[in-house]
């Protein structure tokens, strides 16, 4: 009964082992630290995929385990990205502006420096002053705090309002969808204070590491993403095991019954919703420095729907399923849309996969939902069953 958490959950050990091996292989073959077989841009792609896996396991906990089909978790991911992006952009612009002003005979006052940085950053949207939401942008620790605080608070307030009114099922999904759409539309405006549709860019340049080659920076972010995924996996595996897991799965299956057992269902939903939103924010903060740019299109509703598709194809209610689904679908997506997939000539019509990929994805989603609700994770169960 008192065996350690890892001993009771062998799948967590397996996952960590495989992730560790994968990280080692990438390290050995990367340009920065190894033979150079894997290009820097591909290292970035892999690192970004790890971040997507992290938000996917968060989605699996909120949907697969707790039964809340949130179609808005990418909003939290995007907010995490914007929060870190504000510091990255501020600090880098400040360095550049300070260097150029240093050439002048009279050194600039802090106010002059700040104004120059502001007009540099907000010139594209016709503004030259820092909006109030940038007040902490000068400080990395404060912006890192925002990465967890802003998604967490938004989820807490939104969740409290929605769960308290007992909004469930498809109505809740629509509400979450509306939340991410509203946020996306708001950020598209030039006066939102986050540069409108230009978004934040140049995020791949890390202030203080100007001399470090991108190959090395990508590697560092890849390692950080792998570490975050591993920690997130252990955290969620711990949450969904034991009594907490029991109660949240019970809420998914019959929330009225759980209420009559004396559990305050809304608090549990709020806990799961907020925790997963925070993890989504952290995933976003690791993703966007690797992507280099963030703009409001990133948090359009379609992104959150993709997230649900990954989890459904991977298999709901098992954490490794979410990872499998994400890796499988994003790899397939880049293969089909990257031009590598051969066109199929039907004589009268040629199927170009760049056009038909979304159709294929949609059909697979429907097929998985109808025919194999266990998703790819179900295959793992079958293999395990055969061995046993």
């Amino acid at each position: 009964m008192n065996r350690s958490f890892l001993a009771r959950n062998p799948s967590v050990m397996w996952f960590i082992a495989i992730l560790g091996l994968f990280t080692l292989l990438v390290t050995v073959f990367s340009e920065a630290t190894g033979t150079g077989l894997i290009s820097t841009s591909f290292v970035k792609t892999l690192g970004k995929t790890l971040c997507l896996c992290l938000i996917a396991i968060a989605m699996d906990v909120v949907w697969g385990y707790c039964g809340i089909l949130s179609l808005g978790h990418f909003a939290f991911f995007g907010i995490g990205g914007y929060a870190i992006g504000m510091w990255l952009m501020y600090a880098r612009t400040e360095t550049i502006v300070a260097n150029s002003l240093a050439a002048q005979a009279i050194p600039p006052t802090p106010a002059e420096l700040s104004d120059a940085v502001a007009s540099q950053i907000f010139g594209v949207v016709g503004a030259s002053e820092f909006p109030a939401i940038w007040m902490f942008a000068h400080s990395l620790p404060l912006q890192l705090l925002m990465v967890v605080l802003v998604p967490g608070l938004l989820a807490l307030v939104f969740g409290w309002l929605a769960f308290r009114s007992r909004v469930t099922g498809v109505y809740l999904s629509i509400l979450t969808q509306a939340m991410t759409l509203a946020l996306s539309l708001y950020l598209f405006q030039n006066d939102s204070g986050l540069r409108g549709n230009n978004g934040l860019s140049g995020l791949q340049n890390i202030p203080g590491f100007e001399e470090t080659p991108q190959a090395m920076i990508s590697m560092a972010f890849f390692w950080a993403s792998a570490l975050a995924l591993a920690l997130g996996y252990v955290l969620f595996a711990w949450v969904v095991s034991g009594k907490m897991g029991s109660v949240i799965r019970a809420i998914r299956d019959d929330e009225a019954r759980v209420r009559f057992l004396g559990y305050h269902v809304e608090s549990y939903k709020l806990f799961v919703f907020t925790l997963t939103a925070i993890v989504a924010g952290i995933a976003g903060a690791l993703y966007y420095p690797q992507a280099g740019i963030i703009n409001p299109a990133e948090i359009a509703p379609i992104a959150s729907i993709y997230l649900a598709v990954w989890v459904a194809i991977g298999g709901r209610g098992r954490l490794y399923g979410a990872v499998l689904g994400t890796v499988f679908v994003t790899l397939a997506s880049s293969w089909f849309t990257g031009g590598s997939a051969p066109d199929i000539n039907l004589g009268v019509y040629t199927i170009k996969w760049t056009d038909w990929w979304l159709v294929l994805l949609g059909l697979s989603f429907v097929a998985v939902t109808l025919l194999a609700p266990q998703g790819l994770g179900g295959l793992v169960d079958k293999l395990k069953g055969k061995k046993a």
Binding site: K243, M244, R249, A256, R259, F260, L261, G262, H264, S267
Partner: protein, 246 residues
């Protein structure tokens, strides 16, 4: 025997239909009580009001030694006060094992963080073993509840109720769909439970009610028609008229 639950002058209207009409009801602790009545008499609505699922339009529902009102409390608060409810259809969590079902119901702090940092205790494990013994599911602790037979699910649900250690047990048609042997065992469980707490059984089956051997309340059109021993109420001409005669 002190009064545990008292309802007085309670009325509920659904779209103009008076489901409960000036109902007054009392139960002591410990006590076994059977509630019978034709369809639409308000039996389920009565349970919904006690458990907080339905809020009455008027009337009072007071509970316990300090006569607190149950009307301002949510379902989960009422459950924590010590009201346990068994539904007509067995509702256990089928995807989880018998042990997990019982562990969830076990009387323990119910807050999310209490549950997150919950440590399995020897006492809890022993309590689960004892309950499983009581409901005849000792050998099935690691089986998913979905695999159990209909009767076993009913017992598991009764076991979960007992695990909550409620002061009042509301049981809706426990004998429905059971074999005679299963009924007998269910009767035993309920009679045993009623030795230490209040138990209200809503039942259609007269034979089952007779075997419970307790005071009977007859509901009709949302209010109490008759109350007393089973022999007393079955001789009541009004009861025969609305219920038994048909």
């Amino acid at each position: 025997m002190s009064t545990l639950l008292e309802m007085s002058g309670v009325s509920v209207t659904f779209d103009g239909f008076k489901a409960i009409n000036n109902l007054s009801f009392q139960i002591g602790e410990p006590e076994m009580r059977a509630i019978i009545g034709p369809n639409g008499a308000g039996k389920t609505t009565f349970m919904d009001i006690v458990t907080g699922k339905t809020k009455p339009d008027e009337g009072r529902v007071t509970w316990g030694d300090n006569n607190i009102s149950l009307l301002g409390l949510s379902e989960s608060q009422i459950a924590r006060e010590g009201v346990g409810r068994k539904f007509q259809k067995p509702t256990v969590f089928e995807a989880q094992t018998v042990r997990e079902n019982l562990a969830m119901a076990l009387k323990n702090p119910r807050g999310p963080f209490d549950v997150l940092f919950y440590k399995k205790t020897k006492r809890g494990a022993e309590r689960i073993e004892a309950l499983a013994e009581q409901i005849g599911l000792s050998d099935s602790l690691t089986r998913p509840a979905g695999e159990l037979s209909h009767g076993q699910k009913q017992w598991l649900e009764i076991g979960m109720l007992l695990a909550q250690e409620p002061r009042l047990l509301l049981v809706d048609e426990p004998a429905a769909g059971m074999t005679p042997a299963e009924r007998e065992k269910t009767t035993e469980m309920l009679v045993e439970a009623a030795k230490t707490r209040a138990v209200v059984v809503v039942e259609h089956d007269m034979e089952f009610v007779r075997r419970l051997n307790c005071k009977v309340t007859v509901l009709n059109e949302g209010s109490v028609l008759a109350e007393g021993s089973i022999d007393h109420v079955t001789k009541d001409p009004q009861v025969i008229d609305v219920y038994l005669g048909r």
